[in-house]
């Protein structure tokens, strides 16, 4: 017998952000024994930071149609979006959002009492026509309102929470299926094997691989690291969204909703430069388009500030009332982090790493996939994923604002429904050998047993983030990427000989940071290798040396394995309730 304590559940959900909580709610409400593991208390998850809104074609302000939302999603994703998945998401969106309202989410309201909706970048009516109000919002605190509501409903449904437990690694069954995870109780240092019929990864993003990011400190890509180490692939990791309006230097986000309410960007000459780059949608163009425009302004010497290193977001013309009612959180952030009151002065902003389009590949039921040697999809028995950690792929090469919160609830819900059905039909409890559990503790044991005098984890972390920032940012190019990739591989080797000094068992956050660094490094390597490999420009992946989209060679998903092996998956073109959107040049 292994000395490791085992706890058994029908389902273990790793992650208590929007995706994990939505999945757990579905399962707990149908009476299954679910455990939710989260490295922070649920309401401290990153979803709490989401500001602007969640999209759904409710048509509360103007006529709207989920098919228009579907078109925008596919077009905005530069035709790398799987059309069956985007169809499912956009079609279910109105129902998923109304369910949130029924749960109690305090949406802002229109005069007639319906849910308030605002415009957001890339959302149009009539297949690329005029901007449409599709983002359902609770002021500019939509993520906070959503996360708290979902947590509260899980309390009511009596979900088992393991808060401040850190998932370490995947445990495989005798047949190679996923049988659960090992996890560490942060408060006591105890390690436990959480065994389950199904394991759901809802571990969120990994923006902390970059120096400048809007992401929380806990966004370290743990789910992806665990999957890669278990021999499973990640998909489309070259596609990272840079948000046009991160507060310069601080990184905190100013929601696109600020432009949705009528704000716009200026260069140092006071020119509203987006009119030049995108005459139709202007400041409400897709994020990759606006971020590139801002970077070009800065590179060509029209950036604002003493160092010319940012642009300006003007809001004062919106008036006190709009700012107080619709953007109160933005005003707070801007005063605190930029020292600027947007009622009076423009906010200094710069394109900042924001969102990971890639992740663990899944089908539309949320079941994780791998690709076999003859390039066929194979389901990974026992493993599911949802939210930012997953790549189902509804965001393709560039995500539309407000489509992530939607992704969380639609596919969190889908995983819940799938598992409810599968459990009803009977999912076996996997059989596990002790050696498999021990295997999933090797990594934490290495850190625990590391001896003084090894490499310094913080030095490695800083170097990694700098490489990602400099060589894999908004614009990319072969030589820089190859040298960046080589440096990362060296750092990865250094990390295997790094030292954890603090060996306490009690609330050892130094140990957690080391374990997170392993995951960050795996994600950085996947990103760098995938980016260097894709020789075209598409969506958020923009190269100086291959400036055009190349459908002939690159209209496919990148699938990356930790041993630097690549495979590819075709883009799905089989929606069932709507005409397929044929491959075409991306409309502005």
């Amino acid at each position: 017998m292994s000395s490791v304590v085992t706890r058994e559940f029908d389902v273990v959900v790793v992650g208590a952000g929007g995706a994990g909580l939505r999945a757990a709610l579905e399962l707990a409400a149908s009476g299954h024994n679910v455990a939710v593991i989260s490295k922070v208390f649920p309401t401290r998850s990153h979803t709490v930071s989401a500001q602007g809104g969640i999209s759904a074609a409710l048509g509360n302000v103007q006529p709207d149609d989920w098919r228009w939302h579907f078109y925008d999603t596919v077009n905005g994703g530069d035709y790398l979006v799987d059309q069956n998945a985007a169809e499912y998401m956009c079609r279910v969106a109105p129902q998923a959002v109304i369910e949130l309202e029924h749960m109690g989410l305090p949406f802002s309201r229109l005069e007639d009492g319906k849910i308030y909706q605002r415009p957001f970048g890339g959302h149009t009516s009539h297949f690329g026509g005029q901007p449409v109000n599709r983002a359902c919002a609770a002021a500019d605190r939509t993520g906070h309102a959503m996360l708290h509501t979902l947590f509260q409903k899980n309390l009511q449904a009596k979900t088992n929470f393991y808060s401040e437990w850190f998932a370490l690694d995947i445990v495989k069954s005798k047949t190679g299926d996923v049988a659960g995870v090992t996890a560490l109780c942060i408060q006591t240092g105890e390690t436990v094997f959480f065994k389950a019929r199904a394991t759901v990864f809802a571990t969120g993003g990994a923006g902390r691989i970059f120096s400048a990011t809007t992401n929380a400190l806990i966004n370290t890509g743990d789910g992806l690291g665990m999957a890669l180490r278990a021999g499973f692939p990640v998909q489309d990791m070259e596609f990272w969204q840079f948000h046009p309006t991160g507060i310069a230097e601080a990184g905190c986000l100013i929601t696109e909703g600020a432009r949705g309410e009528g704000g716009y960007l200026l260069n140092k000459n006071g020119e509203r430069f987006m009119e030049r780059y995108a005459p139709h949608l202007k400041d409400l163009s897709c994020r990759d388009v606006v971020s590139r425009a801002s970077m070009i302004e800065i590179r060509e010497g029209r950036g604002a500030g003493p160092n010319g290193d940012h642009v300006l977001l003007k809001l004062d013309h919106l008036g006190t009332d709009v700012i107080e009612k619709r953007l109160p959180g933005i005003r707070e952030l801007s005063i605190t982090f930029a020292g600027v009151d947007p009622m009076k002065d423009p906010i200094p902003v710069v394109p900042t790493c924001h969102y990971m389009m890639g992740g663990i590949p899944t089908n539309i039921d949320g079941q994780a996939l791998t690709v076999d040697n003859s390039n066929h999809d194979q389901l990974i028995a026992g493993l599911y994923a949802a939210g930012e950690a997953a790549c189902v792929s509804v965001h393709g090469a560039n995500r539309l604002g407000t489509n992530s919160l939607l992704d969380l609830v639609v596919f969190g819900r889908a995983v819940g429904i799938t598992l409810t059905n599968q459990l009803a039909e009977g999912l076996a409890m996997p059989e596990v050998e002790d050696s498999a559990i021990e295997q999933a503790l090797v990594r934490v044991n290495r850190w625990n047993n590391s001896t003084d005098g090894g490499n310094d984890p913080e030095t490695i972390r800083l170097a990694m983030r700098k490489i990602m920032q400099e060589d894999f940012g908004v614009f990319r190019e072969e030589n820089a990427m190859q040298s960046g990739l080589a440096k990362l591989k060296k750092l990865h080797a250094d990390l295997q000989n790094a030292t954890l000094k603090d060996k306490s068992n009690v609330f050892n956050t130094a140990r957690i940071e080391c374990l997170e660094l392993d995951n960050l490094m795996d994600v950085a390597l996947a990103t760098a290798a995938s980016a260097a490999n894709r020789k075209e420009s598409r969506g958020a992946h923009s190269r100086f040396d291959y400036t055009e989209r190349d459908d002939k060679n690159w209209w496919k998903h990148t699938v990356y394995f930790a041993d630097d092996k690549f495979a590819f998956r075709p883009v799905n073109m089989q929606p069932t309730h709507v005409d397929v959107i044929p491959l075409q040049a991306r409309a502005e």
Partner: protein
Amino acid sequence: MSENNIMQVEIYRFDPELDKKPRMQDYQVDLNKVPGKMLLDVMMYIKDHQDDTLTFRRSCREGVCGSDGVNINGKNGLACITQLVDLPKKVILRPLPALPVIRDLVVDMAQFYNQYEKTEPYLQNNEELPTKERLQSPEDRAKLDGLYECILCACCTTACPSFWWNPDKFLGPAALLQASRFIQDSRDTHTQERLEKLSDPFSLFRCQGIMNCVSVCPKGLNPTKAIGAIRNMMIALEA
């Protein structure tokens, strides 16, 4: 930047595996080397470059997740939105008062969460669900402003003398603010039951109106006012 920009930070330290009792430890930090301008940046700098055993919670680093409530020179606040320029050159950091210390600045929040859960903090409505959203007028929705934004940081509750004396019976300002968030929601049909559950001498009535909670809330919320509004509703109910 001035050449001598040293901040002296004295921090409460306690690791139950190593320390018999808590102690205070001094750190000298050259602010010119700290990236960022918040107190949390200084704490992270110490952890990253001087002493990796220093222990505290943090997540969002922008004042929205409620992880890093600490006691700063005697006053509770969030480290991540406490500006260095507003602090003196000597800073004393202690864990939030009134809750058991797990290690250093990390407190055991169980009691705080228990009190929150006692208020049944979820919408209750047994009417039939409409196929679309329930309607709510902007005026009714406005009643939730100042209530739903709470980030559960516990700065208020751990600054409240009534909670110090009766942490198991008095719900504390944060939980009462949540109670109010559902009592005020036009979509909740359990208003009366909610009010009745708060009518014992302790749950709510131990509030002395001292307003410590209001003065520390980093989100500018006003639990005292929310508690007052609940009281008024109870009086109206009895009348």
